[in-house]
């Protein structure tokens, strides 16, 4: 250290540089206020999430005081509105899983192929035109998709399978898949494009073709991002409501056969929430238990996504 103290370099130009330290606490206060504002913005979202969880758990508690958890988990019937009431969530879960499964069978392969094409094969112009259109597809209101499923896809499918009922999980699932494609494609493409050019050059320099480079170098390098895209797609599928409410029939039905009608957790909640069940009745309380199940499912997928991101993070 030198004997004479020189002013620090960070001293702003033009501010009064006195030779003594000023006790300007006001700057301190201003920064505190800004910090507090930023903190409250962040805290608000945490608070809302907490409040949602609180309501769901509290109301579900009321439900589980009447219905034992084992009935909820293992009963094979869901008839909360009948005199002979049964509360087997498996019935709704099967509808959710079946329709989501169909949707993902459409969205994951197609979304990945679109992402590969846009990121590795398409020219600059094609990408600039195609990507907004793709994202537009993700902005269509889901009720429109629902009618599309009911009035276009179902009749089309009935030409192939004449026995297909008017309401079915298959056509709802297919259309839901179409709806999810943009999310999967767009996020996967971002992940692929983030792969450094140096890796691609390394692959081409070894004599690889575009397809080999795309499949053997770019895709593995983008695994964590692609996995996140899939997880988001799954969450969208599990949480999708309107398409299923319109096109899948809302009949609780324990089945994994997509050609049957069925209710999902979400479409059941809509049905009851809009119905004329009195608040506080056990029938009404079911929607909180169903909602809690849904929340736990999406939470599980998010945790899986988080784990995948950590597991495959930045291997390049």
């Amino acid at each position: 250290m030198s004997a004479t103290l020189s002013p620090p370099h960070s001293m702003p130009v033009g501010s009064h540089v006195s030779d003594r330290l000023s006790r300007k606490a006001s700057r301190h206060v201003k920064e505190r206020i800004i910090e507090a504002l930023l903190f409250s913005a962040a805290a608000f979202s945490v608070f809302v999430t907490g409040a949602i969880v609180y309501v769901l758990v509290k109301e579900s508690w009321v439900f589980f005081e009447t219905v034992p958890l084992s009935d909820f988990l293992f009963d094979t019937q869901w008839t909360p509105l009948f005199d002979d009431a049964h509360y087997g969530i498996m019935v709704l879960l099967s509808g959710t899983l079946t329709s989501s499964g169909v949707a993902l069978l459409v969205a994951i392969p197609l979304g990945t192929i679109i992402a590969l094409y846009l990121s590795e094969f398409a020219g600059f112009k094609v990408r600039e035109i195609a990507k907004p259109f793709l994202e537009l597809l993700g902005g269509v209101p889901t009720i429109v998709y629902g009618y599309f499923a009911l009035t276009m896809i179902t009749p089309l499918l009935q030409k192939i399978y004449p026995d297909l009922p008017g309401f079915n999980l298959l056509s709802a699932g297919l259309v839901m898949g179409i709806m999810i494609i943009p999310y999967v494609a767009s996020l996967s493409e971002d992940a692929m494009r983030a792969v450094p050019m140096a890796l691609r050059e390394g692959s081409y320099a070894m004599g690889a073709t575009r397809l080999q480079t795309a499949l053997w170098v770019v895709t593995p390098a983008a695994t964590s991002g692609i996995a996140s895209a899939y997880i988001l797609g799954i969450s969208r599928a599990v949480g999708e409501t309107m398409i299923l409410a319109v096109a899948a029939g809302m009949q609780p039905n324990l089945t994994f056969n997509p050609t049957e009608p069925g209710a999902t957790i979400t479409s059941y909640i809509v049905q009851v929430a809009l119905g004329d069940l009195p608040h506080g009745s056990i029938g009404y309380q079911t929607i909180f238990a169903a909602g809690l199940t849904l929340l736990l499912m999406t939470l599980a997928f998010n945790l899986l996504g988080y784990w995948l991101r950590k597991r495959f993070r930045e291997v390049y």
């Binding site: 890796l199 390394g202 320099a205 070894m206 004599g207 690889a208 073709t209 593995p220 390049y316």
Partner: protein
Amino acid sequence: MQIPSTGLAAGVEGAVLKADVRDLDFYYGAFHALKRVSMPIHDHMVTALIGPSGCGKSTLLRCFNRMHDLYPGNRYAGGGIVLYPDDTNLLSPDVDPIEVRMRISMVFQKPNPFPKSIYENVAYSLRVRGMSNKSELDDRVESALKGAALWNEVSNRLKELGANLSGGQQQRLCIARALASDPEIILFDEPTSALDPIATASIEELIIELKEKVTILIVTHNMQQAARISDFTAYMYLGEMVEFGVTDQIFIKPQKKATEDYITGRFG
């Protein structure tokens, strides 16, 4: 086609021409990056390209494996690179760049191992060629890693990620990857600029050993490096070939004033 007018190929005893750059013009969009560049590349020799930043030495190097084809707007505008013994211009539009890259491999400035295991990194250039026989792959991977002086360090950790290696090891892994497919020429684009002096020394030693097997073309910022490892040196400036010659001659008695100024550090 005839041997170029530089006459250097004839002047060096035992030197056989491997490739010949002839009046090559190259554009990045509207920018004229290489201006009528000519130089010979001799078989089983190390040829170094030196010159200040932006002089076109990397651009010239990347012509050899048609790397410029990957980006729109790049244009080979005249002349060419004749590859021997084929006697074919490898920049000709009807030559498949992938075929060129299978014979002329490359090592980059920054080590760029693939997000794969050490084994798969080396096997990559073989798999790309459709090789899938396990024992054949094992043999070729082992000999490539030995050729890149990396085998002893990694033989018991072949399944680990290539990215787990140190910088110098990663670069040797990239050399092994380039070696695995038995190329005729390996292009080095400033291969030691991201490495410490010790790792640099081991790469330099390796390059000198490698010329037994392949022809080497290396771009370097480091003139001492060019002097240490190369047999021939080309000095480029502003997209032009200023001087090409035997390395000793270029460094001891350059023919051109511009070369002398650069080498003695008066410029650049």
